[in-house]
Assembly symmetry: C2
Homo-oligomer: 418 residues x 2
């Protein structure tokens, strides 16, 4: 049977006619290799922002149905133009809106979820030798209105179509040639991973390494869709997202992620009492502020110090709220720091390797980097540092965990010297 | 029963947010006066051209289905934004694509004809107190694809909806405040007509006075839709298109139209033989050149002189073709003139008033203007002149037929002096 590929191209990959011609060549190459292809497109770079600006100028709170009708045109434009190019070059193609492609969503506007895909329209075009070019990011809701899936929703469209059609691979083309062991702009020795597990991918995305939308990755995981991230700008195999668990031959830590978008807040010296955490998190939640890391530990006098991190944009508001909360709790004081960075080591093998923490803390100590906070999960270990140490920490950890490109071959997960 | 108005706004009336806010006020005023309103919109000025340029850059012969998918987004954008504005100002509104509004077309892409309107969706929204904001210029064809109606098709959408819903009036808002007795830029005394008959409107449109698309006017005529042209820029009653025949109280000539977009070609001294006209028009048609006026008359030696007019853009090509044709027909020569103008007097009463030709030729003779060609129809008389006489001819005829604004009251259709 013929191979079926879903090929999704993001905004920079369809930015202008030259880029769209390049997309045509990629699709053509896949067809020449004997595969059937369903294309999913984002809007041309800048188009969605232009439309959102129009909507916001019309109203600070645009009607959600109309907002969706407006911004869904961006993907319709790019998919029509690609279809014109394909047809003009003797590749029969049909642009399809989310509605025409059978993408059925729930009734949330602006962030709808795909509930079902009626595969008949896509199957019919494929059977006729036609390339369906699907407008990503959109579907039709139960009352027949257009609904959009939220930013990055085109990834989800592609994954959902791949799952529904049981495609052999869902290929997400972006402006990077795969998933890296760390951000190459900060860690020059970072290298592309041939494979990464779903869980690692999810941790990386939630830590700020935005290659793929987390929702799309989770969707892929649910249906075990073979998912590959690759570049539309340079040839290469990209990175395959796999669903296998820990593999003894893989390095334990597969990547170093980081961000400097958070701020840290602490209420000091809270008299021990029931419900401290619930009270503090409650007042913060009431102000619609999201909390990331949370730590609570007693001080030497039996009082509680309660620390958490928020997005840096919410820092000033959160600090004011905490200073009130501190009075209410008879705590000593509330302080904060918005010049912090979070650095994380990620790897599915981490849980079973107690040596990871040892390498991580040894490395930071050798470089003289004080650690302010630590949290761990099954597959990651994160530390909060003064942001001035971010680059040094990321690079030295990348080296220590054997991720640098020159060292990869002879990597030994736990160096003898550690 | 509540009055029902269809209000259609063209490109300059929806050019930007300020203009769209103005549209909102017009719709709001109609609703305050107790009417239900269905709005039909064109794309924002410039948007359709932007999309056509994209299509043509992608291919000199873009796939028609994809071309329609692409350019139909222009009207979706303007109708979504107006709906955002209306909802934000407490006027419940829903943008509707041609598909959602039940506009069913034949299967011609780029110039589809409306075959039926399923009125249920519009009726349903109106019954719920919602303003349907319909994307003009588009519908859905028998196989479920989007089809566009061709340039100016939004007028047709509005008229078709008015016919289907048996609306009390179809109001076409443009950047002029009605239909004039002549072009005010050339004839300063030109004035707005309160009423004009359908036939006169059709002649004026075909003569270059492009206030309304001819197809839309014909459609209105077929269903006797009360049609009004008015301005979205200034208040006023506009001009009502009526279906009554000649009215004794009306001036016989209601307007003077003109254009300078044509060129004249003549094959001289063709030996009389069967099929001369068919041969000449055949070779011209093969070159895809449209012909407007056609005259054939014998010269004093029994040879035929065959004259016709074409669009000025086609002049050089047509002349080259005619020079070949002249040889083939053993004719004396083929010549042309692209510095001509056509001036027409229009009025439903003309046919029954033999005095019209007399006034027309007397007036031109008094001004010393040579007439090169003459054609007549039931309701118009057109003359071709050297283009340098255009303004003089238009103004003197406008005066002679009593159309000048100061003279209107005491107008006598056939002046005693003529």
């Amino acid at each position: 049977m013929k191979k079926l590929l879903i090929q999704k191209f993001g905004g920079t990959s369809v930015a202008d006619l030259d880029r769209l011609r390049n997309v045509m060549r990629i699709v053509q190459a896949a067809r020449s290799n004997g595969a059937d292809v369903v294309v999913v497109l984002s809007a041309m770079a800048g188009e969605t922002d232009r439309l959102i600006t129009l909507a916001k100028e019309a109203s600070t709170t645009p009607n959600p149905r109309e907002y969706d009708n407006l911004i869904s045109t961006g993907e319709m434009i790019s998919s029509s133009i690609l279809s014109i190019l394909l047809n003009a070059n003797n590749h029969p193609a049909k642009s399809m809106t989310g509605r025409q492609a059978g993408i059925e969503t729930d009734d949330w506007h602006k962030k709808a979820h795909i509930e079902n895909i009626n595969i008949e329209p896509l199957r019919k075009e494929l059977a006729a030798g036609i390339i369906p070019v699907v407008a990503g990011f959109q579907g039709v809701n139960p009352i027949g209105d257009t609904a959009t899936l939220g930013r990055g929703g085109s990834d989800t469209t592609a994954v959902a179509i791949a799952a529904a059609l049981k495609a052999d691979e869902c290929q997400i083309f972006t402006d990077v040639d795969g998933v890296y062991t760390s951000d190459p702009r900060v860690v020059p020795a970072a290298q592309r991973l041939d494979k990464i597990t779903l869980k690692e991918m999810l941790e990386m995305a939630s830590l700020g390494a935005k290659v793929l939308q987390n929702r799309a990755v989770r969707f892929a995981g649910r249906y075990q869709v073979p998912l590959r991230v690759l570049s539309s700008f340079v040839d290469g195999p990209g990175t395959l997202i796999t669903y296998e668990e820990f593999n003894m031959e893989k390095p334990i830590v597969t990547s170093i992620a980081f961000n400097r978008s958070e701020a840290k807040l602490t209420v000091w010296g809270i008299p021990d009492q029931a419900g401290v955490a619930a009270y503090i998190l409650g007042v913060v939640a009431e102000a619609n502020i999201d909390v990331d890391m949370i730590l609570q530990n007693p001080d030497s006098e039996g009082h509680i110090n309660f620390t958490f991190t928020v997005h840096r944009d919410d820092y000033q508001r959160a600090l004011a709220i905490l200073q009130d909360a501190a009075k209410h709790l008879n705590a000593r004081e509330a302080t904060g720091d918005n010049r912090i960075a979070k650095v994380s080591a990620i790897g599915v093998g981490m849980r079973t390797h107690i040596g990871v923490g040892k390498i991580l803390f040894n490395t930071l100590a050798q470089e003289g980097i004080p650690v302010q906070l630590v949290t761990t999960s099954e597959i990651k270990m994160s530390v909060v540092l003064d942001e001035k140490y971010l680059e040094l920490a990321a690079r030295s950890l990348h080296t220590a965990f054997g991720l640098d490109s020159e060292l990869q071959e002879e990597f030994d997960p736990i160096p003898a010297t550690a």
